[in-house]
Amino acid sequence: MYLEILLATALAVAGVALAPIYDSLERKIKARLHSRVGPPILQTWYDVLKLLAKELVIPEGGYFTAAVVLTELFLSIALLVSVSFLLFFQSLTMYVLVAVFISALSAATLVKSVTQNNLFSVIGGFREYSVVLSAEPFLILLVLLIGARGVTDLKSLIGLAPVVLTTYVMTARIPFDIAEAEPEIASGIMIELSGPLLAANELSLLTRRYVMAALPAYLFLPWFVANPLLRVGLGLALTLLTWVIFAIVAVLLGRTRAAVMLKGTTVAALALTLLFIIVESVPYG
């Protein structure tokens, strides 16, 4: 019990530290696919530290925006912690907690974008809304389903498909980065942020990405692997693997359009989730 708590805490701390490193790795992978040299492996940490050293500029939205940015950071860390505990404690409460944090985090992002007194941010906010709508309900549903019923059989692994799809969408990578879409709406939801606030925003985004990369493994691993240390090892490895796959996919695609995305993603996520439910409800034998 204590070992598990210790391991889960360590995993969460490692997640916060690793997320910017994985991001640098992602940039390195991207650079390699672009035939570029790319940044060093600690580059994102350097960026964050540099931003933290800059003066604090309160955006046009006022202190409220700043407060929401920080809330978002705390929520994303809370989500990381709860997901880390998921690897060892499979009570329904744990799953509900994860679902609540996912939802709260999205809500914070939305609030952040509309409190900024900037047109681009508001457009970004509406776009973020459509991203969230097309994926988040399914992800929450899947988390709760797994929590309620447990995963008992190899055929349940079919559930990985909708989980991976929705977590990918939730990472706001291309083609789903329309909420910031630099060439269109000039960084949208984060246009008003700079210095330490931008660093906080960056850290919460990266932490969220880490959670989303970890989630597929953390949802399914406990049901198949008994040894807690093996769980940790496999969890870390699979998180890295998922992150790398996500990074490569993001390089291969272009940015989508809000309207197109709502339809396409929703339909795909719905179909896959239904498939999972059907597979799960078929009796054994």
Binding site: L119, P175, P183, E184, V251, L253, R257, V260
Partner: protein, 565 residues
């Protein structure tokens, strides 16, 4: 006009136009050259003349206002009509006395005259009669009412005191600002998109923020004919060689000299190299706008050898400094020729692969297809040029219509699409890259021997004596973005008036029909799809057409004093 036959021996159609203008509209011919004819018509006939020329297939290239008061106490406006299908220009001059300076507007007859008329009003102070919307195009709002920078009495380094900005027309709704600083616009320019949901319903444009007064500078004692090619090259950071060659072609026409054949071939080769690198640059940027950065980086990787090649041939990656009146400064030897061939081979192979990859990316195809549509009739009315025209089914290419330099020696096809959408504009440019590669190969294969500089010219000999005052010349070149036009009226040792009409100047008005009804997400792509070059467009002038109201960017509060002459 008894002398008509003597002036116009070769081109019966041209004589017919001159006959019509002189006999029916009471004009008189000033001057003619093999592909240009200058006719002065009374100003009350201008609208009818414009209607006649437009209906007989002419495109309005631009108009140029000239302060001729030191010569004959009047202002003049030269409308340059290009008979694309016949390959000659008709330049219609109207004069207006200095104390009663107005000309009739021809905007309702020829919509393409919109901008250049407003520019004439701003820069020379000629009033426009019969125009519904008259407002400043080029000058900033805080510019004094009665100072017209291109008038001869205004010194080239004159800076008038800022006056209180007038309130200008603004749309009632609130729009989404794109610019003056925006990640997609690589130069300051302002678009305001009025949207409903994510659909653009209207667009307001304001430009001319990067005005540098190059035309005025060219007329100033600071410059001579010898130095102007270097100045012209700086009009644009991408198609600089086009401008320098075009200015030189106009000067050479006025001087009545032709550079040696080899020099013409070398200029053509460099022009096509410039098209290749410009199109590759654009394709990369388009991929970036659509979020496909891999396409961006790899297109630029393929492009890089072209830049290195340019440096090898000319001495610089950009702003080559290769051109002089009468020829070019550097030769292409055997060794360089082989290098060009080898590198082009690689570029062709690399880009073919990339082009296939680009169109296979689902987001690119989906977002480029059917967006930013410009119909053929809109394209015709606005006289759009270059790939924008060719993507809308308008067959226009200066290289074919008015063959210049060595283009007659190469066989190439002009890609034509009828869809008029962003994808068509992408495809036109992609195909043009391959055509340009083929043109360079053909020209290098039959590169003639001989000198590269006219015997009367060199870097040391001042060419001023060769170019007599009082001559006219119009030169046009198919730049990567479309037709580039230079109008020259010679003076003592330097131009009396030098008018530059860059391709983007003609294409920006087409953005309005293109953007309307499109998703907001694709607006940046559509704006980019005309490959706008704002430095070219703004070369001489701050704008306020269809100004928008901006709440988030307070552009108007302090007056847009960004541009000084």
């Amino acid at each position: 006009m008894g002398e008509r036959g003597r002036y116009l021996p070769e081109c019966p159609e041209m004589s017919e136009v001159v006959r019509k203008l002189t006999e029916e509209y009471g004009g008189h011919m000033i001057f003619s050259r093999e592909s240009e004819v200058y006719v002065e018509v009374p100003r009350h006939e201008l609208r009818d003349v414009a209607k006649y020329l437009y209906n007989s297939g002419a495109f309005l290239k631009t108009c140029a206002a000239v302060d001729e008061r030191p010569l004959n106490r009047s202002f003049a406006l030269y409308h340059i009509f290009g008979m694309d299908s016949k390959g000659y220009d008709v330049i219609v001059k109207v004069s207006t006395p200095e104390d009663d300076a107005w000309v009739p507007s021809i905007v309702d007859v020829v919509p393409a005259a919109d901008w250049c008329e407003l520019e004439a009003r701003d820069m020379i102070g000629i009033e426009l009669k019969g125009r519904r919307l008259v407002r400043r195009l080029v000058l900033p709002e805080d510019w004094p009412e009665d100072v017209h920078p291109l008038r001869k009495e205004v010194p080239h380094d004159f800076r008038p005191p800022s006056v209180k900005a007038e309130s200008e027309f603004r749309p009632p709704e609130r729009g989404i600002p794109i610019g003056p600083y925006h990640p997609v616009l690589h130069e300051p320019e302002y678009f305001e998109l009025l949207v409903e949901g994510e659909t653009v319903v209207d667009v307001y444009y304001r430009g001319f923020h990067v005005h540098r007064g190059i035309e005025k500078l060219g007329e100033s004692p600071r410059f001579t004919y010898q130095k102007i090619p270097f100045l012209a090259e700086r009009i644009c950071g991408i198609c600089g060689f086009v401008h320098s060659t075009c200015a030189i072609m106009a000067m050479e026409k006025a001087a009545g000299i032709r550079p040696p054949e080899r020099a013409e071939f070398i200029r053509t080769v460099v022009l096509e190299l410039e098209r290749i690198h410009s199109h590759l640059l654009w394709v990369g940027v388009a991929a970036h706008i659509l979020g496909y950065d891999a396409g961006f980086m790899h297109t630029w990787r393929v492009r890089e050898p072209v830049m290195i090649l340019s440096e090898l041939i000319t001495g610089s990656r950009k702003t080559y400094g290769l051109n002089l009146v009468g020829g070019v400064r550097r030769n292409i030897d055997k060794d360089k020729m082989e290098k060009i061939m080898k590198i082009l081979e690689r570029v062709e192979k690399g880009f073919k692969e990339l082009a296939n990859l680009l169109v296979s990316v689902p987001q690119i195809r989906r977002r480029a297809q059917g967006t930013g549509v410009l119909t053929r009739s809109e394209a015709r009315a606005l006289s759009v040029v270059g790939p924008v025209a060719r993507a809308s089914g308008l067959y226009r290419d200066v290289r074919k219509d008015y063959p210049y330099l060595a283009y007659k020696e190469a066989s190439f096809k002009v890609p034509l699409y009828t869809e008029g959408d962003n994808l068509a504009r992408v495809l036109v440019r992609v195909e043009e890259v391959f055509e340009s590669i083929s043109i360079i190969k053909q020209l290098l294969d039959k590169l003639p021997g001989g000198p590269i500089m006219h015997e009367k010219c060199s870097a040391i000999i001042p060419v001023d004596e060769l170019i007599p005052p009082g001559k006219y010349a119009v030169a046009a070149i198919e730049a990567p973005r479309g037709e580039d036009v230079h109008f020259l009226m010679t003076g003592e040792g330097r131009p009396y008036r030098w008018r530059v009409r860059a391709p983007t100047y003609q294409n920006i008005p087409a953005l309005r029909p293109m953007l309307r009804g499109d998703p907001l997400a694709d607006a940046p792509l559509t704006i980019a799809s005309i490959d706008p070059c704002f430095s070219c467009t703004d070369r001489a002038l701050v704008i306020d057409v269809r100004t928008g109201r901006a709440r988030t960017i307070k552009l108007w509060d302090g007056g847009a004093g960004t541009c000084r002459l």
